[in-house]
Symmetry: C2
Subunit: 416 residues, 2 copies
């Protein structure tokens, strides 16, 4: 089934807002085997909306249009769609009751302007809006199928997952391939490909793609089969095989972040952790504490941005700073050991580096980062030379520090 | 001048990647008075690309197309564009030398496949690529103007700013309105509107719009005039007037983040700072240290996620935690005071709150956050009740903590 996605709003074409709805809707449609053939974005202008909808309905089997369902005069999508389907707007009492009750629950009377939100094209079905007032709409005739959804991402998601996807599955659309994601870090896309391409090419009904970003490379496998359960078995087998080849570099299957994986391992091992951050300035701590329930294993830590604080709070010796410099194996190890002791945690991870744009030298260029983990088993340190600007260096450093913790917890030997 | 933006890539229509290029290109075009009438996204399919380019060139005065300029067989944009302009690809020696030198600088020989990147449509102009191999292209005939740019955001930005915008300005395109941004935090969009709408309506040639997000609301003024310098004067006058009305809520004019403003104020006052973070887990520190040169005023701090660390590293008394709870004015003040002392900084800011999803109670619901600033002048504390999920609460808390620092540094009285 071929889809077009139409997004509507002046703010999408004047640089105010990035359109994330197209990607989110496309991802949901792909999962049930839908094929998005085009995306179109137009401003809140009746002619532009009309021409985009008409063309999309001609080219695709179904259209998902987003935005322009509010009560203000800017929002014209519904009126235009109604005319495209040669219908008239009529009052829907059920929708009106819902809009009214939303205002009442906020302790306010419904402004008259909001009555317009309860007007829907005759013959259309309204999609209930759990978290807002404007309903979604389904318009359909013999040849055309149009879903109108609000542009607010939370409302769009609720309607896609709660209504549109089940509706399309009811029409026989279903997942044709099973997807598996293997999340890796610490290895480049080309090195990954060298490791697994020869094997993947021999795996039956399995397609692989690489999705690189600053945090690592996600490997995506799409697997076919005779029916869903066969495809699912194929996918598990292929993912197992690829994971075997990638070994230490895989930190998760699925969507989990490295901070969740580390949190899970710490919980399993009943270990507590603390962080000693210099160049990352708190980012490792922020990521570890982003996981609900992280207070079970995360004690906290020290942002030792100045050398003074490295000495004062982490007991790094002045001689170590003088002899080796703040960005060195010795100082990274001392920071981690001092942090574990100071915070009373079973283990600690430290990061110290040169994020730029200043501070680089020939010996210690911008992007050089030392990190260490101290635990009851001893200390382990690594250095990296990251590319990119200041924030890119910091993001990569935090990810690598979390990965070092993962490797220590799993007893994975270091790369050579 | 009316533009269409065409983005090309299967990854934009299968949920893999959000298209941020359209918004970035649109923002740059708007600044010189360009009007983007439509955005179209198509996969890497010759027919789809051809049809999108032909239609865009018919509807708009100029087209910016992004993506599909690489050397792999997936990348078809250039071939299609060449046919659309009834031209043939020819080898450009200058581009070939550039591609070859890029590989040489990485210590590698150029693979044969990359020769294709030096093939450009006869009559087209190549746009030099500073940070990659594929050149951008300008194709033009009597009625049509097409810019082909790489989809990699950094390469796109360099070519837009270094070539496309100056090229269009050379064609007479220029800013028709002057823009001013006033960045606010600590006040809602509707409260802002109430404060300034009556005045703005009376301001000559000034349009206002509100851009809300978790960090606050940006107020955008677009001002006209007779010529650029007149518009610029109008814009300054209008911005001054609006800033007067908004007073304490405005933290910046332009694009600066609150961490930059706070850094600037700290530098001016020759004050040093440290942070004591509980629920934000390091986010305030991460933001303060994101500013290059922040080591001049940022000492570091303590991530006191556990009560134990609040006592151990920040000298918060056990009795205060027991009597008032970790999320209280008393503990926030003690954390800030203890942090300034421990870190030897002139001032310190603390944050302690309930980010959820667990930990809320009737007395202290999820979203309640206390924060305090301790300085030589004494302590100041505030509480907030933030809405949203865990990360939204943390982001708002960090922003409000930085704003509290700003207010203390500027001697701004608290809201009642």
């Amino acid at each position: 089934m071929r889809f077009e996605i139409v997004t509507i709003g002046a703010e999408l074409l004047d640089g105010t807002l990035v359109d994330s709805n197209t990607s989110e809707v496309a991802s949901r449609l792909r999962k049930i085997g839908g094929d998005v053939i085009r995306g179109t974005t137009v401003p809140d202008d009746s002619d532009a909306i009309r021409s985009a909808l008409v063309r999309a309905l001609e080219s695709a089997d179904a259209v998902v249009a987003l935005g322009g369902l509010g009560a203000t005069s800017d929002d014209r999508t519904k009126q235009v769609a109604s005319r495209v389907f040669e219908s008239n707007l009529v009052l829907d009492e059920e929708v009106l009751a819902h809009v009214r009750s939303r205002f009442e629950s906020l302790g306010r009377a419904m402004p008259e302007i909001n009555v317009s939100q309860a007007m829907i094209p005759q013959g259309a079905r309204a999609i209930h809006n759990q978290s807002g007032t404007a309903p979604g709409l389904v318009l359909e005739d013999d040849a055309r199928l149009l879903f109108l959804l609000p542009g607010v991402p939370a409302e769009m998601r609720a309607m896609m997952d709660g209504y549109v996807i089940p509706f399309l599955e009811g029409r026989g659309l279903k997942r044709e391939g099973e997807e598996r994601i293997l999340r890796t870090t610490g290895i480049s896309e080309s090195a990954l490909a060298e490791l697994i391409d020869p094997t993947v090419r021999r795996l039956a009904r399995t397609e692989v793609s690489y999705l690189p970003n600053l945090m690592g490379v996600d490997v995506r496998l799409i697997c076919g089969g005779h029916g869903a359960s066969d495809a699912s078995r194929t996918a598990d087998r292929s993912a197992d095989r690829v994971e075997e080849l990638l070994g230490r570099y895989v930190y998760a299957r699925g969507k989990e972040g490295l901070e969740e994986v580390v949190g899970y391992l710490l919980s399993m091992e009943r270990q507590t952790i603390s962080v000693a951050e210099s160049c990352t300035g708190g980012l490792v701590g922020h990521r570890l504490t982003s996981v609900p329930g992280s207070s079970d294993y995360m004690r906290g830590g020290v942002i030792a941005y100045s050398n003074d604080l490295k000495k004062r709070l982490l007991k790094v010796r002045a001689a170590a700073l003088r002899e080796h410099g703040a960005v060195s194996r010795e100082v990274a190890v001392a920071m981690a050991a001092g942090c574990a002791e100071r915070c009373g945690s079973d283990m600690a991870v430290s990061v110290t580096g040169i994020a730029g744009p200043g501070g680089g030298s020939e010996d210690k260029p911008i992007g050089l980062v030392w990190m260490a983990v101290a635990s009851r088993a001893g200390e382990r340190a690594r250095s990296f030379l990251f590319g990119g600007a200041r924030e890119a260096v910091r993001v990569q450093a935090a990810q690598s520090a979390l990965d070092l913790v993962r490797r220590v917890l799993l007893g994975i030997e270091e790369d050579d």
